[in-house]
C-alpha cells in the first residue's frame, strides 16, 4: 500500500510540476527578437560572450553592455533555426556557445529583474 501511495504521490507531483512547463508552448517557434511584449522589454538580445554549460552562468553582450544571467534546471532552452527556414526546437546547454546570437528572458520578481533566466533562445549554427 505504501508503494502504491508513493507512486500516486509521484504521479500527482509530476503532473503539478509539468503543468507549469506547458505554458506558452508556441514560444519555441518564435524567432529571436519577435516574442510579443517581451523582446527588447524584459529580454536582452545580443551575442553569447561566455557560457558555463555546467554551472549555468552565461554572459550576453549587446552593443552597449554585458548582461550576466544564470541558467537553472527550470530554464527553457530554445534553438532558433529560422535563418535556415526551419522551425524552432528545444535545445540544450550544449547549444549555449560563445559567439552565437541569443536572446535571454529574465525572471522578474515584483518588478525587479533577477539574474535567473526563464528562457534563452540560441541561434542555430
Amino acid at each position: 500500500m505504501r508503494l502504491s501511495f508513493a507512486v500516486t504521490v509521484m504521479a500527482t507531483v509530476s503532473l503539478l510540476l509539468t503543468s507549469a512547463q506547458a505554458q506558452r508552448a508556441t514560444e519555441v517557434l518564435i524567432p529571436i527578437g519577435q516574442s510579443p511584449g517581451v523582446s527588447g522589454i524584459s529580454s536582452v538580445i545580443g551575442t553569447i560572450a561566455s557560457c558555463d554549460q555546467r554551472g549555468g552562468a552565461v554572459t550576453i553582450s549587446t552593443e552597449r553592455e554585458q548582461h550576466m544571467a544564470t541558467l537553472s534546471t527550470e530554464t527553457k532552452i530554445y534553438l532558433d533555426r529560422s535563418a535556415a527556414k526551419k522551425s524552432g526546437t528545444v535545445g540544450s546547454r550544449s547549444d549555449c556557445q560563445k559567439g552565437r546570437r541569443g536572446e535571454v528572458k529574465f525572471v522578474y520578481e515584483g518588478g525587479t529583474r533577477t539574474a535567473r533566466v526563464e528562457w534563452i533562445k540560441i541561434q542555430a549554427e
Binding site: V7, L17, S87
Partner: protein
C-alpha cells in the same frame, strides 16, 4: 484670370482639402478597434486561409458548435486539414470538429504531433476585459496558458497564428505564416477587449421574465441552486473562495509530497516547496484582496511562513507537516463560513 475666378478656385481647393481630411475620431481608439475587427475577420497572416473569425464567428457568439459547423461549406477554412496533405490529422481532427466542435491544440509542445495534443472546445471572446486578468497575471485560453511572450491577451494572437494558421505542420515563421506586427496586435487587442460587457454585473439583474427571475434566484441561492458558489458573477468566473480552496489543495499536495520524500528526486524538493508557496501566495492575494475570511488568510500567512522556514532546513518534513495543518485549518474556516 479675374479676381472672382481666382477666389472661386481658392475656395474650391480649400473645400476639397477639408473633404479629404478624415472626420475627428468621436471616441478615442475607435479607429484601432475598427482595424482590429478587420484583422480579426479578414487577415490570414499569409497562412492557410483561416482568420480569427474562422473559429470565432460573430454570427455564432464568437464560438463554434456542431450545429453551426454542420452548416459550413466543405471548403470552409475550418476544414483546411481535409484538403491540405501538409496538414492532415496532425493539425486538426475534422471528425471531432464536426461531431463535437473540438479543435486541436499542442499545449505541451510540438515535438510529437502524432501523440501529444489536446482537443478543446472553442471559448467565446466576449467580456475578455473582465476575465483575462487574475492575481497571477493574464490568463488566456481554457487553461490560462494560451499566450506566448508576455502572456497577455495582446500576445495571444501570435500564438493563435502559429497554432492554427500554418500552411504546414512545420510552422516556420516567414514560410508557413507571418507573425502579427505590433500594430496589428494592438488593434486585435483593442477589438477583443471591446466585445461583450465592459463592467461586472450588479446582481440581481432587473429581468422582465418571471421565469428568468426565478432562475436568477435559484442560481444565486446558497440553499437551492448554489450555482453562484462557483460562478459568482453570473457565470463568467469562479468564486474567490473556490479559487482559494483549489490553491490550498494544490499546496497541500505539494507539501505532502515533500513530507513523503522517500521516492521523490532530491533536486525537486526546492521546486516542491517553491510551488507550494506560490499556491499559498495566490490564495492570500485572493482572500486579502477581496477582504474575505481574514481568519483563514491569517492561517495561510502562518502556513507560508512555515514553508519559507522549511526551505532553509535540512529536514523540513516537520515544518511541512505544520504548514499542512495550518492549511487544513484555513480550508476549514473558508468552508464553514462560505
Amino acid at each position: 484670370m479675374s479676381s472672382r475666378k481666382s477666389l472661386s478656385i481658392v475656395i474650391a481647393l480649400l473645400l476639397a482639402t477639408a473633404c479629404r481630411e478624415p472626420p475627428p475620431d468621436p471616441i478615442p481608439g475607435t479607429e484601432r478597434i475598427v482595424e482590429g475587427r478587420r484583422l480579426f475577420f479578414e487577415e490570414t497572416f499569409g497562412g492557410n486561409g483561416r482568420t480569427c473569425g474562422t473559429c470565432h464567428p460573430a454570427r455564432n457568439n464568437f464560438t463554434i458548435d456542431p450545429t453551426f459547423v454542420a452548416k459550413l461549406p466543405p471548403d470552409d477554412p475550418l476544414f483546411i486539414a481535409d484538403t491540405t496533405p501538409d496538414l492532415g490529422h496532425r493539425f486538426e481532427n475534422n471528425k471531432l470538429i464536426r461531431g463535437v466542435g473540438l479543435i486541436l491544440e499542442n499545449l505541451d509542445g510540438f515535438a510529437d504531433l502524432e501523440n501529444v495534443f489536446t482537443q478543446r472546445g472553442v471559448p467565446h471572446t466576449l467580456a475578455l476585459r473582465l476575465s483575462v486578468a487574475s492575481p497571477r497575471g493574464p490568463q488566456t485560453g481554457w487553461s490560462g496558458d494560451g499566450a506566448p511572450g508576455d502572456r497577455s491577451l495582446r500576445s495571444f494572437a501570435t500564438g493563435a497564428v502559429i497554432q492554427h494558421f500554418t500552411k504546414t505542420v512545420n510552422r516556420v515563421p516567414g514560410v508557413d505564416f507571418r507573425l502579427p506586427t505590433d500594430t496589428e496586435l494592438d488593434a486585435l487587442d483593442a477589438f477583443q477587449l471591446a466585445l461583450g460587457r465592459q463592467e461586472e454585473l450588479a446582481l440581481p439583474l432587473r429581468l422582465r421574465s418571471t421565469v428568468a427571475l426565478r432562475g436568477q434566484a435559484i442560481f444565486n441561492s446558497g440553499t437551492e441552486g448554489k450555482c453562484s458558489a462557483c460562478h459568482f458573477n453570473a457565470g463568467a468566473n469562479g468564486s474567490p473562495q473556490i479559487n482559494a480552496l483549489e490553491n490550498i489543495r494544490q499546496s497541500m499536495v505539494l507539501l505532502q509530497a515533500r513530507v513523503d520524500s522517500v521516492l521523490v528526486p532530491t533536486e525537486d524538493f526546492t521546486a516542491l516547496l517553491s510551488r507550494a508557496q506560490d499556491e499559498i501566495n495566490d490564495a492570500i492575494i485572493v482572500l486579502e484582496g477581496g477582504g474575505l475570511h481574514p481568519d483563514a488568510a491569517a492561517r495561510l500567512v502562518e502556513g507560508r511562513r512555515l514553508i519559507e522556514e522549511a526551505s532553509g532546513r535540512r529536514r523540513p518534513a516537520d515544518l511541512a507537516r505544520q504548514a499542512i495543518a495550518e492549511l487544513e485549518r484555513a480550508r476549514g474556516l473558508i468552508i464553514e463560513t462560505s
